[in-house]
Amino acid sequence: MKRLLSFRVNGDLVQIAARPEETLLEVLRIELGLTGTKEGCGTGDCGACTVLLEGEPVNACLLLALEVEGRSIETIESLVDHPLQRSFVAHGAIQCGFCTPGAIMSAKSLIDRNPGPTREEAAQAMSGNLCRCTGYQKILDAVTGWQNPPEVPPGPPASHTGGDSLRPPGTVVGRSVPRIDAPDLASGRAVFTDDIHLPGMLYGKILTSPHPHARILSIDTSEAEALEGVKAVLTHLDVPDTFYGVSPARYDEQVLAKDRVRYAGDEVAAVAAVDEGTCLQALDLIQVEYEVLPAVFDPFEAMKDGAPQLHDHPRFKNNVNTRVDWSFGDVEGGFAEADVVKEHTFVGNRTYQHPMEPHCAVARWESEGRLTVWSATQVVHYVQHQLSRLLDIPEGDVRVVMTHCGGGFGGKAEVNPLEICATLLSRKTGKPVKMRYTREEMVRHGRGRHKQFIKMKIGARKDGTITAVEEEAVLEGGAYSSFGIVAVYYAGAMVPTLYKLPAFKYDGYRVYTNLPACGAMRGHGCPHPRFAFEGVLDMIAEELGMDPIDLRLKNAMEPNSRTVNELDVGSCELEACLRTVRERSGWDEKRGKLPPGKGIGIGCGGFVSGAGYPIYRSKFPHSNALIRVAEDGQAATLFIGEADIGQGSNTVLSQVAAEAMGIEYEAMRIVAADTERTPRGLGTYSSRVTLMGGNACRMAGEEVRQQVLEAAAGLLDSAMKELEAGGGRVWVKADPDRETSWAEAAARHFSEKGPLVGKGWYSPPEALGGSHKGATVGTSPAYSFSVCVAEVDVDLETGGVRVTRLTDAHDVGTAINPMSVEGQCEGAGVMMLSEALLEDVIFDEEGRIKNPNLHDYLIATSCDAPEIDTTVVPSFEPRGPYGGKECGEGTTLPIIGAIANAVSDAIGVRVDELPITPDRVRGWIRRREEED
């Protein structure tokens, strides 16, 4: 029974009817349409729904609506151009922006009480607002510096030296301009998928298996179908009988389980109804009869003869989903000539991306048989591709749109059951259907990081020169392939890119288990091998009595090298990164000189700037751009298929396009990640967007520039080749006073020749990589390099670890937007600190997740974030746009190794298992004490 409720929202008196169980968050978002307040977890753990109740911050998801009777609520919509909002924008405190409205409300409550908070006070006040993108540094800058937001610093000096590939950055590239969408995100105006509400829209939910492995004997949906408000129920009988997945070589998933479920969470049926509550009731009424089968959760058990088999195809014998068997160079000879050989076993952790925004999809069929799907996805094209395959309709009839996306980190890099089921439910009902995961459902769907068991063996000469490396990795994969085939190749392929290895042997196994599937997560397959490699390197340094940085310098990759596994490294400033962190961290004064419990350690990492080959084979360019200049020449719109999921690509690509055209950044508009309106882009994964999208945008921009120069030649009575454009002006190179505005020249083009448009595309160089099996994985036009020094305080009695400082340096090529690059580095630092110390998806004996939430699975808060000192070293990548390459994933890869090595330094025991919990630290210390 609904009851009348009256309260004040943002000063206005509101009277509505609310159900007793309805939360304030539901009332604000659904009844009142105040969608600036976000739902991140629904359990009061993340703070995305923070609003002020009588001035005090509260989680709107925890308050029943009826509790606010007669009281006063402020939401993000109450703030219009508030100094805090301006400060968040100017400080670069906004990445995906999903946590931003809640964070700003918490900050507002703080500054209303305490206008000049210290950094510690701000960190305390903001500790309930989880952020997965920023690493909190810039949020704390924005809160403490709210009264004096910085001006946008000018970029490097303008240079107008022509269009060759070595053209240095000019007026737009290299400038720390604010994100193009930051004001929308700070105001709560930005539309995320869950903010979309269509007339007549239904909701959908999925019934999943409670068993880790079972045969489905029967499904009875009759009671569910009879429930008031239910509009459609789907089982395997109603959905396409087509396998899908990520890699065509491993399509092993079905829309709804046909005869067997393979993990507790496998999809069995789907329901559409008038609201989510009715959907949940209907799910309870579906009767599924299961025959429970033996299950296997450990990859080593799963590989044994006689273990339960997850997939019947003979290629997956012994549950081995993918096997890699590589040997490059003379491995045996390399170990024979080594003076020291160290081998150690390392165990990683199964972690989950936990983007602040849960997955959500809205599907709507139009009368012409055409489909539109809005989704929180990183890859609109791959979603379009799979929906077209599953429905057997042309790609042109499937439009997939990402509006804003609240973080992904790889968890939204493949088509998901919400997109597929919403599409099918919408087709069946003729109504738009929205489906969203709860935080628990996201975790259960999985696709997080594979837990790796790694044996790493390194041989070196007395002078530290590495002679050979042998790696064995077993990846616990879960029930389906997802990105696993790529993960197990990356776990080996990227090892030889950091150091000059003359010989490398790799045995990789990606193994099916009755657990949620693992997929692609930031750093894809590489963090655990780097943790292992950097650990064994330190063991070698110790044995040789060599400084760990000296050992790394001795072996550091050099520019223009070919690795032993036939990857071509172009620009490489690893040595400069090593020297930078050595100096800035005070390494030489600290290493080996710290008291017990304090430690300092180093790690290196690096990543591809985009995969050299697409996920399914095609000859299509990987990135494509269109630019349309406004008729008056005062603005230009970039149409690009790549997705800005918070990493800032819309801003960076706009900067590149503006630079190429010769206009100011402020004139840029952007339409992105919409398969109907934007040309194809493969999306946001493998850190590909800056380099590949950037090159496409640059090419499109240069085509526009040429046309503007041509029009300006008439205006300036000069030859086109004598002209230059930049900063919204066109001038005669030999006589810069002879100039015209860019807009005027563009308008003249429109008058004389019609629309002013440019197009550009990018394909990676042909035939990247060697000819061995799996040689495509790890290929890239360019590689990034990163180094981190971590300093830790270990409480030797409790085992608690606190990372006090990260000093990191990165070769990302040209930093197209230095503030954004810094944000990526800081975010990478804190995310990986969190993975190193806190994170682990834990299962019970039945394969059910014990911590599918954000209070048992902890991620770092603002109070856990250390001081971070980030340097971007000078570098230029000839294959990148204006010299740029990636900074999203390589920046994560030195962190775990650095922290693990620092903790090892502090406690005198090799840290070889993640996460580094107090419990484990005490275990290591006890072991050392027993050995002494």
Partner: protein, 164 residues
């Protein structure tokens, strides 16, 4: 919060339409997710005794991250010291048994004697022995038992400093 209040000697006021009654906190918690509240009763007040001269207290909670954590083990201590003799000791443990509880043997190790280091160590050892934690997502039973001893010692030292 509960161990802290328990160490302070707090009571709760339970009110029903028929009567109201005060219950000491250490008697309020029955078992896991069970309390002494009867049907129809609500918890109306928490009553905390005023601080007495010579009294000092401390709470040491251990969590897995720096803020907003669920305690893995917690020890709250209140001591009253008069003329070099510990007249009262309350040692409450949290998150290491189905309910928060008073570690009576630890209290007995302190009361009636001088609060010297050897007695603090003995009390911490007894607190450790009184703990009955389970292993869960926040740590193993073994680690939590270890934590109780260390946290108890730290809390006792802090409380003693404040009692003087």
């Amino acid at each position: 919060m509960a161990p802290l209040l328990m160490a302070l000697g707090a009571r709760v006021l339970l009110v029903s339409p028929e009567e109201s009654r005060e219950v000491r906190l250490e008697e309020f918690f029955g078992d896991h997710r069970r309390t002494e509240m009867a049907p129809g009763e609500i918890l109306a007040e928490v009553l905390v005794p005023a601080r007495v001269p010579g009294e000092g207290g401390a709470y040491q909670a251990f969590g897995l991250r720096a803020a907003n954590f669920i305690t893995a083990a917690g020890v709250a201590v209140v001591l009253r010291v008069e003329e070099g003799v510990c007249r009262k000791a309350r040692v409450a443990l949290g998150a290491v048994a189905p309910t928060p509880f008073l570690a009576t043997p630890a209290q007995e190790a302190l009361e009636g004697g001088p609060p010297d280091e050897s007695r603090l160590l003995e009390a911490a050892r007894r607190a450790r022995d009184a703990a009955e934690p389970i292993s869960d997502v926040r740590g193993s039973a073994e680690h939590r038992i270890e934590l109780v001893e260390e946290l108890c010692l730290r809390a006792l030292r802090l409380a003693l400093g404040r009692a003087r």
